[in-house]
């Protein structure tokens, strides 16, 4: 099993009466309540956490993409990944943005991912979310009735741009380009591994199997509630004739790690409460634009989508409920290790994306958890599924061929005048 340290980057200072005063954490939350100077500290603190995760032994560090969202402050994941590319050297960089339909022309994504791959020495994992309806329809104004078709076309263009060594013309419905000719092109050949984040639609599973991409199930409701969904994923792969390689799947799980079980609730509850009861405060009117999902997906998910929403999201649950129902894995390193092992075995996932920072959790607490995970959890679980080839992992340049950031700056290289 491989471990990725995954950041959402929530804003830390939503007021105590946030749910009463504001309609949603997303889309139309007035940015007057965002303090850019606090934001300056927060970005740097959060990037420190990600960099520290590499030093604690995480295999990859991850950023994602949301827009107009107070719990996800990375409208541009590529900017975050760019800073990490220079400040880290071993960890792979999982970038679970770019929402293809939001970028015009989509070659911009091919270019930026190629830049990240080249700068990082081939450490990039490229994410291609369709994007949530909040992000791509309500914030980015993309038409819900055509967005899937536009996604398919944009994906085709990006992959072709990565693979083609001569200029070509692209005559799409949404993008027409006379000269597609990527400079730079990625280090990884034919292109960086592609991971597709999703929430359980069959179309996405088919898309992943067809292109041999990793499917990353991003859920805030934890591994116990994900079992049916992931069973569906594996059954679908079998039906499509794809293999049952656990590395073809990743699962996002939030964790709260303390030295002992006893101290965990006390340390983490305020931050867990902040996440589930403030960060997931969403307005149903802008949760899904008509046409965002196909009729089949709509029928399959109608209960989850329109009924029980609050309950499934974990709002108004107690610490005990959240822990018992698996929304969060909480406790000592050994307690959490056992649950991650169960997660890995029951969902059959070779990649675990650990949300080690939750809600308002500060650096001291988070870094301590990261260290505990690196020392006491990761080494004990790496063997799981290690006999399967991981075709979804970057093929980075060997360390000996990697550039050293600062080597040509006389001051940082220590050879200056």
């Amino acid at each position: 099993m491989k471990f990725t340290w995954f950041h959402l980057m929530p804003y830390r200072w939503l007021p105590a009466d946030f749910r009463e005063r504001y309609h949603s954490v997303w889309v139309d939350l007035p940015n007057g309540i965002y303090d850019p100077e606090k934001g300056h500290d927060l970005y740097n603190e959060y990037l420190d956490m990600l960099e520290y995760a590499e030093q604690c032994g995480f295999d990859a560090i991850a950023v994602n993409e949301h827009h107009q969202n107070a719990y996800g402050m990375m409208p541009s994941p590529n900017i975050m990944a760019a800073t990490l590319a220079r400040r880290t050297s071993k960890a792979m960089l999982l970038v679970l943005g770019n929402s293809i339909v939001c970028y015009n022309p989509p070659t911009r994504i091919a270019e930026e991912f190629a830049m990240l791959d080249v700068i990082s020495g081939g450490r990039l994992i490229a994410g291609f979310p369709v994007g949530t309806s909040m992000d791509i329809n309500y914030c980015a104004g993309q038409n819900p009735a055509t967005v899937r078709d536009k996604y398919r076309e944009g994906h085709e263009l990006i992959v072709k741009a990565w693979k083609t060594r001569e200029p070509f013309a692209f005559n799409g419905k949404y993008t027409k380009l006379r000269y597609v000719n990527l400079w730079p092109r990625p280090i990884q050949q034919p292109h960086p591994p592609v991971w597709i984040p999703g929430l359980g639609s069959i179309e996405t599973w088919d898309f992943c199997a067809q292109h041999d991409y990793n499917y990353s199930y991003l859920s805030f409701s934890g591994y116990k509630r994900a079992r049916n969904m992931m069973n569906g994923y594996w059954e679908r792969r079998t039906a499509l004739g794809a293999d049952d390689n656990p590395h073809s799947a990743a699962f996002f799980q939030q964790v709260c790690i303390s030295e002992t079980d006893a101290q965990c609730e006390k340390e983490w509850w305020p931050h867990v409460d902040y996440f589930f009861n403030k960060c997931l405060h969403l307005y149903p009117g802008t949760s899904e634009a008509p046409g965002y999902r196909s009729e089949a997906s709509l029928r399959a998910g109608i209960v989850a989508q329109f009924g029980n929403t609050t309950q499934n999201m974990g709002i108004d649950k107690t610490w005990k409920q959240l822990v018992n129902e698996g929304y969060i894995l909480a406790g000592s390193p050994e307690t959490v290790r056992q649950q991650i092992e169960e997660l890995g075995k029951t969902l059959r996932v070779g990649h675990v994306l650990l949300g080690c920072q939750i809600g308002s959790a500060p650096a001291e607490l988070v870094n301590r958890a990261t260290k505990l995970a690196g020392d006491q959890i990761l080494p004990k679980l790496r063997h799981l599924y290690s006999d399967y080839e991981d075709r979804w992992w970057p093929k980075a340049l060997p360390a000996s061929r990697r550039a050293k950031p600062g080597a040509h700056n006389p001051v940082s290289a220590g050879v200056g005048p």
């Binding site: 329809n137 309500y138 104004g141 038409n143 819900p144 009735a145 055509t146 419905k173 149903p284 009117g285 802008t286 634009a289 008509p290 046409g291 009729e295 709509l298 029928r299 109608i302 209960v303 329109f306 009924g307 029980n308 929403t309 609050t310």
Partner: protein, 265 residues
């Protein structure tokens, strides 16, 4: 089911009544006979096609309508298939936009034009309410003047479809899906800001035009009626009192009477 040939959408066309031809283009809620349309069928031969995703028209047809121009052309294709010549063209809201565009596109093929609170124009000082960014329960007060009216109470039943529990019948689920599929079609042409560029083309409309608006329309302000009338050379504005956006549903008698008067029947 009207079959326009291979590679074309299949459309349900409902008909009622006898008399001069009235070609009706529905709004984002689809065709309903219990309001003004049923009354009009006493004086006209009403033809009411459902766009893909509405009524019994398969939603897959939407993929065969690439852009707005093809939507307006589809209106003429249906008219032609039904053998209609210069009908009274009536459109409500979303359908009002299509009707206006049709009259601007082929002015000689439309007899008269009645626009009931059409969407398609935009003024920053009077933004059209986001049809796609509200729950059904929140949208209703924007559609009606009087939430106690029979039409409003009737539509309020839809809010029960939005349940917190998994207790809906299959019929309710189907109804919910039907609403979404219809809205999806409307969204293809109106999302995210329903400024369709119609304003630049209004001058092309030459036929006698009725612009009818509910005086208390909170979805699309009645001030848009004047904006349209200023650009359509042969337009008359009629305002219906005690009436919200859905004049055909909330004030069926007054709305049908104005359309009859305008048509000279």
């Amino acid at each position: 089911m009207l079959d326009l040939g291979s590679g074309r959408p299949k459309l349900e066309v409902q008909e009622a009544g006898a008399g001069p031809s009235l070609f009706f283009l529905h709004g984002a809620g689809g065709v309903a006979w219990d309001g003004a349309l049923g009354l009009l069928a006493k004086h006209f031969h009403v033809y009411a096609p459902s766009l893909p995703g509405f009524g019994k028209s398969p939603s897959e047809g939407l993929e065969l309508i690439e852009d707005a121009l093809e939507l307006w052309q589809l209106g003429f294709d249906v008219m032609e298939a039904l053998g209609l010549e210069k009908p009274l063209l009536v459109g409500e809201s979303f359908g009002g936009w299509i009707a206006a565009e049709m009259a601007a596109l082929r002015p000689k093929e439309v007899g008269k034009l009645a626009l009931l609170a059409p969407v398609g124009l935009w003024r920053d000082e009077s933004p059209v309410v986001d049809l796609f960014g509200l729950t059904i329960g929140e949208l209703l007060p924007f559609l009606f003047h009087d939430m106690k009216s029979a039409a409003a109470r009737n539509m309020s039943q839809l809010t029960t479809l939005m349940s917190d529990k998994d207790d809906r019948t299959q019929a309710q689920i189907d109804q919910l899906i039907a609403i979404f599929l219809g809205f999806r079609t409307a969204a293809k042409f109106l999302f995210p800001v329903p400024d369709t560029g119609l304003e630049r083309r209004l001058w092309r409309i030459r036929v006698p035009t009725l612009v009818l608006w509910g005086a208390q329309d909170r979805l699309i302000a009645p001030s848009y009626a004047e904006l349209i009338a200023k650009r359509v050379r042969n337009a008359q504005v009629v305002t219906i009192e005690r009436c919200g956006h859905l004049s055909m549903a909330e004030q069926p008698e007054a709305t049908a009477k104005e359309i009859q008067r305008f048509a000279g029947i």
